[in-house]
C-alpha cells in the first residue's frame, strides 16, 4: 500500500519519495508527505508527520471493504510503518 525511499545525508532526510496504492483510484506520489520529511531527521516524529500529511492529502476510495475513514487511517499507519522500516 505504501512505498517509500529516502537518503539520509548528514543526519537528515534527502530526496524522500512516498508512493501510495489502493488508497485512491490510482497509485501516485504524495508530495505533501515528502515535504513533511525533507531535511528532517529520520525519526518517529518525522514519520508521524509524513503519515498525517499523507492521510490529509488523499481523497480515499470507498468500497464495501473499506470506508473513507478506515482507508485514511490505514494510509496514516502504513506510510509511517514503511518509513520506519526504511530507517537506517
Amino acid at each position: 500500500m505504501a512505498l517509500v525511499t529516502y537518503r539520509v545525508v548528514n543526519g537528515v532526510i534527502q530526496e524522500p519519495r512516498v508512493g501510495l496504492g489502493g488508497a485512491e483510484d490510482r497509485p501516485r506520489r504524495i508530495v505533501e508527505a515528502e515535504a513533511a520529511l525533507a531535511d528532517r531527521p529520520p525519526a518517529i516524529e518525522s514519520f508521524r508527520a509524513a503519515g498525517d500529511a499523507a492521510a490529509d492529502a488523499i481523497e480515499p476510495l470507498e468500497d464495501t471493504q473499506a470506508s473513507t475513514d478506515y482507508r485514511r487511517d490505514l494510509v496514516r499507519v502504513v506510510t509511517r510503518r514503511a518509513l520506519e522500516r526504511a530507517a537506517p
Binding site: 464495501t64 471493504q65 475513514d69 478506515y70 490505514l74 499507519v77 502504513v78 509511517r80
Partner: protein
C-alpha cells in the same frame, strides 16, 4: 490426535476407527471425477434475471430468432410452495420463472435456449425486460416497520413465520433475578459458496419418454418428487442423478427453480440441455443464509448461574421460501436450540422469519447455530465480565452436566459432555501460560486474545424431530440395499447423497467389519434415483448416523446369512463361525472358506441349503433414529493489530466429541473445512446489498473468501462418548466446525481489545468494523 476416552473404538473391530485413505479420492485427484458440467448437451440454457429488487413486469422482448421461454409458456408448471403446518406460517409461492412481479435482484424471468453458453448469455443480455419498479425493502428490521413495502400480499407485515415460547415461571424468575445481561448480535449475510456452482443437465429419451436430470444436488430423490409434482409428470418419467458434486453445504439441498425449467424444456423440446451457473449468478441468485438479528437477555442469580433466558430472533428469509425445509428453518431452529449447552429452566423466545426483496435463504452448514452460538457465547463472556469471573468459570457454573437432560424446549440431550471437551481444550491450550503471554504482550503494545466457544451439535435426527417442527416432509430416515455378488464384492446402494463427506469410505469400513471383507471390496452407489433406494440425501450432519446406521443393520443381516451359508458348507454351528479377513472360519480349527466361495454358493448352489435360507445375498434396512448431539469446544488465539485492525489467528484448537470416530482422518477433514467456513463467517464473507436492492458482492474480488493464508493450522482432539441413540455409536460432526468458529474468533477479538472496552458483536468482524469499534470506544487513530 485422537484421545480415546470410552474404550478403544478399534477393539474387536478391524476397520472402524482407522484413518484409511478415502476410496473416492483417486478419481477426484487425478481429474477423473464426473461432474454435471462435463456432460455434453445439444443446447445450452441461460437465464434472464431481474435487474431490480421489486417491480411489475410490463413486457419481455427477446431478440428476433432467439429461443426464449417465459412464464407464459410455462403456465402449467406449479410454483414452488413448500409447506409448514405450524408457527403461523404463510405459504408463499415462487413461480419457477417470474410471472408478473419480481421480488429480488437476480430472480429468473426467462430461459434462453441457444447453441452455446456464450450465445445464451448474449441473448439473455439482449432480452429487454420492462419492469415498473415498486417499493422494495432489503433489511429485515426495516421490513418489520409499520408502512414498510410488502413483499407478498399474503403477508402484509412481511412476517412469514413466527414462533413464540414462554415457560410458565419465566416472569417470576426474571423479576427476582440478581443480574440481567443483554447482548445484541448481528450476523450478516453469507453465501455457502460451493466450489462448483449449481448446474443442471436435462436429457429427454424419446424411446421411453423419460427425462434424466443430472444436477448438483444433495437430495436427488426429493428433487425427483418435487420436480415431478411441479410439472405434473409421474415420478417414473424422471430420473435424477447427482454425479460428483463439488460441495453443497446446504445450498444444493434446496430446489433450484432453474432445475424445474430445465426438465420442462427437455420434455418440451425433446432434446438435451445444460445450464451451468456462473459465479456471478451463484453469488447473487442461488441461496443465501445467516442474515439475522439476535437479542439475548440472560437473567443470572448471585452465583452467576443463568436462571432465565430471553431471546428475540429476526431472520431475513429473502423473497421466497426454500423447498424442502421452508424459510422457517433458520428462525425456528434458533428458537428450539438457543439455550445451547447451558442449563436454564425458564425461557422465552420470539423468532420471526421476515420476507425482504433479497435472494432467498436456505440452510447453510450449521443453519442458525453459528449465530445462536455466537450470541450465547457473547452473553456468557459479558456476564463473566459483569460478575468478575473468568470465561471458564462462568461456563463451568452453567453447562449441563447431568444426562439425559431434557431442555426447556423439549430436546433430549443423551450425553453432551461440553464440560469435558472444554476442560480438555483448556488443558491443551495452556490458558495460564497464554494469560501470562498476553500480559507481557500488552505491556509491549501488542494485543493478544483468547476466545472460547462451547456448543452442542444436533446430529442424525429422525422423522420425529422434523414432525415436531411441523414440516410437511420429514426427511429423517434412510434406506440401504446391500448386495454381495457371486465373486464376493459388495455393493451398497444408499439414499444418502455424499458430495465430499467421504461416505464411501466410512460406510465401507462399517460394512467391512460386519462382513469380513476389506473396504476396497465395497462399492457404494448413490445419487441415482434409478439405482439407489428412495432416501433424503446428505445434509444436517446425518449421513454417518442415519445412512451409517442403516448400512450397519443391512450388513449385520448379510453377515447372519453368510454365517448360515458357512454353517452348511463347513458343517459347523453358527456360534463357532467367524467372518474376518475375507473368510469364514471355524473357531479353534484350521477349517474355513473364502467369502467368495460362500457368495458363489448363495447364488449357484442354493439347493444345498435345504430350503432353510433363500438364494442370493441381498439385504436391506432402514434406520430412523431419535437423534443425538455431538459437542465441541473451540478455542481461538488471535492478535489484533490495533492500528490497522487486522486480525491474525495465531492458533485454532478444537476438542470434539462426536461419539465413535469411524475414520479419524475424515473426521478431522470435516472439522477443518467447517472451521475454515466458520472463520470466513467470523472475519471475511459478507453479501452486501446497496439501498436500491442491488447486490454489490458478485465477484470473488468483492465477496472475500479466506485462503490458505488466512486459515491457521487447526489442532483437533477427539473424545469419544458412544451414543446409545446411534446404533453405530457415531454422532456425526458435519457442521460443528462452522458452528463454533464465529463465537471463538469474536470472543478472542473482544478479549484482545478488552483494555479499550470494545464490545464487538457483529460478524463478519472486518477490519473496518473493528476500527470503527475502536474509534467508538474512544481510541484515537494512529
Amino acid at each position: 490426535m485422537i484421545k480415546r476416552e470410552m474404550g478403544t473404538a478399534g477393539a474387536g473391530l478391524a476397520w472402524v476407527g482407522r484413518s484409511i485413505r478415502r476410496l473416492e479420492d483417486p478419481a477426484l485427484v487425478t481429474g477423473r471425477g464426473r461432474f454435471t458440467a462435463d456432460l455434453p448437451a445439444a443446447l445450452k440454457v441461460g437465464f434472464v434475471r431481474s435487474a431490480v429488487a421489486a417491480g411489475r413486469i410490463v413486457k419481455i422482448e427477446a431478440p428476433k430468432c432467439a429461443t426464449v421461454f417465459t412464464a407464459a409458456e410455462l403456465g402449467a408448471v406449479r410454483p414452488i410452495q413448500p409447506l409448514l403446518h405450524k408457527f403461523n406460517y404463510v405459504p408463499i409461492a415462487q413461480p419457477v420463472l417470474a410471472r408478473d412481479r419480481v421480488r429480488f435482484m437476480g430472480e429468473p424471468i426467462a430461459a434462453v435456449v441457444a447453441r452455446s453458453g456464450e450465445e445464451a448469455e448474449d441473448v439473455a443480455d439482449q432480452t429487454y425486460v420492462q419492469i415498473d419498479e415498486t417499493a422494495h425493502v432489503i433489511d429485515a428490521k426495516a421490513a418489520l416497520e409499520p408502512g414498510a413495502p410488502t413483499v407478498h400480499e399474503k403477508a402484509p407485515q412481511n412476517v412469514i413465520v413466527q414462533g413464540h415460547v414462554k415457560t410458565a415461571g419465566f416472569e417470576a424468575v426474571q423479576a427476582r433475578a440478581h443480574r440481567r445481561v443483554g447482548v445484541d448480535v448481528r450476523s450478516r449475510r453469507q453465501n455457502a459458496l460451493p466450489l462448483e456452482a449449481r448446474c443442471a443437465h436435462a436429457s429427454f429419451d424419446a424411446a421411453t419418454e423419460r427425462v434424466t436430470l443430472t444436477c448438483t444436488t444433495q437430495m436427488p430423490h426429493l428433487m425427483r418428487t418435487a420436480i415431478a409434482d411441479l410439472i405434473g409428470m409421474p415420478e417414473a418419467a424422471l430420473r435424477v442423478i447427482a454425479p460428483d458434486v463439488g460441495g453443497g453445504f446446504g445450498q444444493k439441498m434446496s430446489l433450484a427453480p432453474e432445475f424445474v425449467v430445465l426438465v420442462w424444456l427437455a420434455r418440451h423440446l425433446r432434446t438435451s440441455l445444460a445450464w451451468i451457473e456462473d459465479r456471478r449468478e451463484n453469488l447473487a441468485a442461488s441461496f443465501h443464509s445467516r442474515d439475522q438479528y439476535l437479542r439475548l437477555d440472560g437473567m443470572f442469580d448471585e452465583n452467576a448461574k443463568l436462571v432465565a433466558l430471553s431471546a428475540d430472533v429476526v431472520a431475513n428469509i429473502g423473497a421466497y421460501s426454500c423447498f424442502p425445509t421452508t424459510c422457517a428453518v433458520e428462525p425456528l431452529l434458533a428458537m428450539a436450540e438457543l439455550p445451547g449447552p447451558y442449563d436454564v429452566q425458564e425461557y422465552q423466545c420470539r423468532a420471526r422469519g421476515v420476507a425482504t426483496n433479497t435472494c432467498p435463504m436456505a440452510p447453510y452448514r450449521g443453519v442458525s447455530r453459528p449465530s445462536i452460538t455466537l450470541a450465547l457465547e457473547r452473553l456468557m463472556e459479558q456476564a463473566a465480565c459483569a460478575f468478575g469471573i473468568d470465561s471458564v468459570e462462568i461456563r463451568r457454573r452453567n453447562l449441563i452436566t447431568r444426562f439425559p437432560y431434557t431442555s426447556v424446549t423439549g430436546l433430549v440431550f443423551d450425553e453432551v459432555r461440553c464440560r469435558e471437551t472444554m476442560d480438555a481444550a483448556i488443558e491443551a491450550i495452556d490458558l495460564t501460560g497464554f494469560r501470562a503471554r498476553q500480559a507481557k504482550a500488552r505491556a509491549e503494545g501488542r494485543y493478544l486474545g483468547i476466545g472460547l466457544a462451547t456448543f452442542p451439535e444436533r446430529t442424525g435426527y429422525g422423522t420425529a424431530a422434523f414432525a415436531a417442527r411441523g414440516m410437511e416432509i420429514t426427511p429423517g430416515w434412510e434406506a440401504v440395499e446391500l448386495e454381495m455378488d457371486p465373486s464376493g464384492f459388495v455393493e451398497a446402494r444408499i439414499g444418502a447423497s455424499p458430495h465430499g463427506q467421504g461416505l464411501h469410505t466410512t460406510l465401507a469400513q462399517i460394512i467391512a467389519d460386519q462382513i469380513g471383507v476389506a473396504p476396497d471390496r465395497v462399492r457404494v452407489v448413490h445419487g441415482d434415483t434409478d439405482r439407489a433406494p428412495y432416501g433424503f440425501g446428505t445434509f444436517a450432519s446425518r449421513s454417518l448416523v442415519i445412512a451409517g446406521g442403516a448400512t450397519f443393520l443391512a450388513a449385520r443381516k448379510a453377515r447372519a446369512k453368510l454365517i448360515k451359508i458357512a454353517s452348511h458348507l463347513l458343517e459347523a454351528s453358527d456360534e463357532d463361525l467367524v467372518l474376518a479377513e475375507g473368510a469364514a472360519r471355524v473357531v479353534g480349527t484350521n477349517r474355513g472358506l473364502p467369502i467368495e466361495t460362500l457368495a458363489r454358493a448363495a447364488y449357484h448352489q442354493s439347493h444345498r441349503f435345504g430350503g432353510e435360507i433363500g438364494p442370493g445375498l441381498s439385504e436391506s434396512a432402514t434406520y430412523d433414529p431419535i437423534g443425538t448431539f455431538a459437542n465441541a469446544c473451540h478455542v481461538a488465539l488471535v492478535e489484533v493489530d490495533i492500528e490497522t485492525a487486522a486480525v491474525n489467528i495465531e492458533k485454532y484448537l478444537v476438542v470434539a466429541d462426536a461419539g465413535r470416530i469411524v475414520n479419524p482422518m475424515i473426521a478431522d477433514g470435516q472439522i477443518s473445512g467447517g472451521v475454515a467456513q466458520g472463520i470466513a463467517n467470523a472475519l471475511f464473507e459478507e453479501i452486501i446489498y446497496d439501498e436500491t436492492g442491488n447486490i454489490l458482492t458478485v465477484t470473488l474480488a468483492d465477496y472475500l473468501v479466506p485462503t490458505a493464508h488466512e486459515v491457521p493450522p487447526i489442532e483437533i482432539h477427539h473424545l469419544e462418548t458412544f451414543s446409545n441413540a446411534s446404533i453405530t455409536g457415531a454422532k456425526g460432526l458435519g457442521e460443528g466446525g462452522t458452528i463454533g468458529a464465529p463465537a471463538a474468533v469474536i470472543n478472542a477479538i473482544n478479549d484482545a481489545l478488552g483494555p479499550f472496552g470494545v464490545a464487538l458483536n457483529e460478524v463478519p468482524a472486518t477490519p473496518q468494523r473493528i476500527a470503527a469499534a475502536l474509534r467508538a470506544a474512544g481510541r484515537k487513530s494512529a
